[in-house]
C-alpha cells in the first residue's frame, strides 16, 4: 500500500488543519491494532522521543500525548498547575490568548490579562510591571495567535520573565507554531508547551501534544489540593507515558492508536529527513516572506503591525481596498481553501492563509504558487468588476 494516494481535494491552506502527506494519511489508516500490543508500544515510544527533538526539550521535557485537541492542552495546564487563588498572567495577542484566560479562571486563577493592541504585541514595560506587581504562578504566551497572525517574541519574553520573576512557570501555547517556528524548550526555560497534531506537525487533528518541564511536574507534585479533573490529570498519565517510552504498555484510557501511527510517520520526516529542523524553520520564514511580499503587491495589508512580529506559518491578510470576504468562496471555487477573519474587532477586514508543513517543505507540490495565483485571480477580477 506504499503507493497510496489520497483523494483529489481542494488545497487546504487555512492556519490548521493543514495538508497531510500521503504516508501520514496511510498511517492513519493502519488496521485495527491493540493499544497494548508489542507492535504499537514502540510506535508510541518513538513519538515521545521524537517530540523532545522537535522542541529541543531533551533535558527535562516530559511529553504527554493524549486523545483530545489543542484546547484540551490548555485545560491540562490549568487543571494540573493552577490552584484556586493562584495569580496568572495571560499575554493576550488575540482570540486564543483571551480564551486561555477563561480556561485558567475555570480553575480559580486570578488572571491578569495584558492585552496588546490588535496586531501588536505586549510591551516589555507592561509585562515587567505585571510580573512585579504580584507573585505570579503561571504566565501564558500564545506563540502564534491564529486570530491575528502575531508571533510572540517567546525567547525574549522568557528571558524577561526569568529575570523579573524566576519562579513563574512559563506556558507557551504553541498549537500554531510547533514545527513551523523555532521553539527551544530547554534553552528558553519553558515549563509547558501546548500543541496539537493538525498544524505544523502535519497530522490529522485529535491528539493533544503537551511538553512539561521537571519544574512543572514538581509544581504538580507539590499541590496543596488534588487535581480537580479526572481525565487530564497528569498523575494518571505520567506512568503511562513513562511505560510506553520504556517499551511496555500500561492502561489508563485508550490512546488514539491510528493517530499515533500517523504522528510517528510525520515526526520521522521532521526529525530524520530533509530539510533538517533548522532548515525547516528557515524555509517557513523564507516562504512566509515570499507569500507576504507577493500579497502586498496585490494591495493586501497585514494584521501584524510589522513583519518581525508576523508568524512564519501563516499570514493574517487584510483585504485590498474594494475587496471583501466575498472572495473566499471564489477562492474555494478555484480549489483553494483559506480561512476568514476570527478576531471579533476586525473579522470582516482580513482573511488567513496557512503556509506550514508539506505546503512549505515540498516545493514540488506547487501549493504556494497555486494560492498566490488564485488570490491574484480573484482580487483582480473583483477590482475590475
Amino acid at each position: 500500500m506504499s503507493n497510496f494516494k489520497q483523494a483529489p481535494h481542494k488545497l487546504l491552506v487555512i492556519p490548521g488543519p493543514i495538508e497531510v502527506h500521503d504516508s501520514v494519511l496511510l498511517a492513519n489508516a493502519t488496521p485495527g491494532t491493540s493499544h497494548v500490543s508489542p507492535a504499537f508500544v514502540p510506535v508510541f515510544g518513538d513519538c515521545i522521543r521524537m517530540l523532545r527533538k522537535v522542541l529541543y526539550a531533551e533535558k527535562t521535557g516530559q511529553p504527554f500525548l493524549i486523545a483530545g485537541s489543542g484546547t484540551m492542552g490548555w485545560d491540562a495546564a490549568g487543571a494540573n498547575l493552577i490552584e484556586a487563588g493562584d495569580n496568572a498572567i495571560v499575554v493576550d495577542h488575540g482570540y486564543f490568548g483571551a480564551a486561555f484566560a477563561d480556561c485558567l479562571e475555570t480553575y480559580g486563577a486570578k488572571v491578569t490579562k495584558i492585552t496588546a493592541p490588535v496586531g501588536g504585541i505586549v510591551s516589555d514595560e507592561d509585562l515587567v510591571a505585571a510580573l512585579k506587581s504580584q507573585k505570579v504562578k503561571l504566565i501564558t504566551i500564545t506563540h502564534v495567535d491564529t486570530s491575528t497572525g502575531v508571533l510572540a517574541p517567546a525567547a525574549h519574553y522568557s528571558k524577561l520573565i526569568k529575570e523579573h520573576s524566576p519562579d513563574t512557570l512559563i506556558a507557551l501555547d504553541a498549537v500554531c507554531s510547533v514545527a513551523s517556528e523555532e521553539i527551544r524548550f530547554d534553552d528558553w526555560g519553558l515549563d509547558i508547551v501546548i500543541s496539537a497534531t493538525q498544524k505544523g506537525l502535519g497530522v490529522p487533528p485529535g491528539l493533544s501534544v503537551v511538553m512539561a518541564s521537571a519544574r512543572a511536574l514538581e509544581t504538580l507534585q507539590n499541590r496543596k489540593t488534588p487535581v480537580p479533573s479526572y481525565y487530564i490529570n497528569w498523575n494518571r498519565w505520567l506512568p503511562i507515558m513513562r511505560a510506553y517510552e520504556e517499551g511496555s504498555a500500561k492502561y489508563f484510557a485508550t490512546p488514539p492508536v491510528q493517530l499515533i501511527y500517523a504522528l510517528q510517520v510525520a515526526l520521522k520526516a521532521i526529525t530524520e529527513e530533509s530539510p533538517s529542523l533548522e532548515e525547516r524553520f528557515a524555509l517557513h520564514k523564507k516562504v512566509s516572506n515570499h507569500v507576504k511580499d507577493e500579497l502586498a503587491k496585490l494591495g493586501c495589508g497585514f494584521v501584524p503591525l510589522s513583519r518581525d512580529i508576523a508568524a512564519n506559518g501563516m499570514s493574517a491578510v487584510k483585504y485590498p481596498e474594494g475587496v471583501s470576504a466575498a472572495i473566499l468562496p471564489k477562492l474555494a471555487a478555484l480549489d483553494v481553501v483559506v480561512a476568514g477573519g476570527l478576531h471579533k474587532d476586525i473579522a470582516s477586514t482580513y482573511f488567513r492563509v496557512g503556509h506550514m508543513g508539506v505546503t512549505v517543505t515540498d516545493a514540488s507540490r506547487g501549493d504556494i504558487q497555486k494560492v498566490l495565483d488564485a488570490v491574484k485571480t480573484v482580487v483582480t477580477e473583483t477590482k475590475s468588476a
Copy 2:
C-alpha cells in the same frame, strides 16, 4: 480509491479496539479538510443524527462528539452533572465500575459503590436499599464491564431506579456495548450514555461519544456552582453540536475531522445497511453463544456466573485446566490477538475475546472460525505437551 485494502495484519479480537472495515479506514485517511468547511459540516451533522438512531434516542437525546476517549466521557458526566456533596451510586461489576467511582469522587461526589461478586451482578435488593437510603443524584451502570465480561441488566435496573428513585439520573457506561448490545435510550429513560468509537462502532479510537437526555441538560443548567472543567464543559459544546446538526459550523476546539468521516461511514453501515440494527444485536447474541459453546467444549469456563449476564460482544474466558496465559503469545503467533485478564483478583485465570462489529456481521471474513481454530490448536498443544 474505493479499492483500498488495508495492510495484512493479525486479527484483532480483543474487547476493543476491534477490526475496522476498509471503507472506514479509508475515510480515516480523508485528505486534510477544514473543520468549518461546507464539505465537513454535513458529515458531522450526519454522525449526530445517526447516533440517535443507534441508541434509540430520537426523543430527547443530545449527542456530544468530542476528541478524546471513552474515559473522557465519564469525566464529562462527572464534571457536568456532579456538584460537591452530591450522592452517587456506582453499580460495580469490575474494573471499569470501580474506576468510574474514582472519577465521580474527583468532582466531590459521595459515592456508594455496590460491588457485585466477581462475575456476578448487583442484586435488586442491594440496589433498591442503596437508592432508598439517600437522595441520589446520579447512578452509574457499566453496561458491559470489559474486565469481567458481565452484561448488566440495564433495562431492568433502569426500571427499578425509576420506581424507587425517579429523580436519579441514570448514566450507562456503554463503551463496550454500543452497537453490540441493545440500548434503548428513550424507552429505558436513560440520561447519559457514554461510549467511544473503537468498539462496537468499528472505528479507530480517539472520539468520545456521549448521549445526554433533556433531563441531564436541565440538571446542568440548574447547577449552583460552575462546571469545574474547561474542555469538557457541555455548555461550551452544546452550541457546537447544535450548529453542526443544523448545517453550520461553529468553533470551540478542533474536532478530529478524519475520525468523524470514519464514524460517518461506520454509522451509515450500521443504520442503513444489512443487517438492520435489530438483526445486528441478534447476530451478536447468536455469535456470542456459538463462541461460548465452542470454547466450553475445549474445557473453558467463563467469568460471568451465568450466560444470561454474559456480554454478547465479548467473552471473558477461564483457561481450561493445565492452560495459562502462556497461550496468548502462541495465539498471537497464529495471528490472533486476544486480551489477557484485567480484573486484579483473577487476572491470571482468564483471557478475553472480543466478537463485535465486522467480525460478527461479516461472516465471509471467517474471523470467528479463525479464533476458535487458533484457541483449539494452542489449547490442544498445551494439554498434550
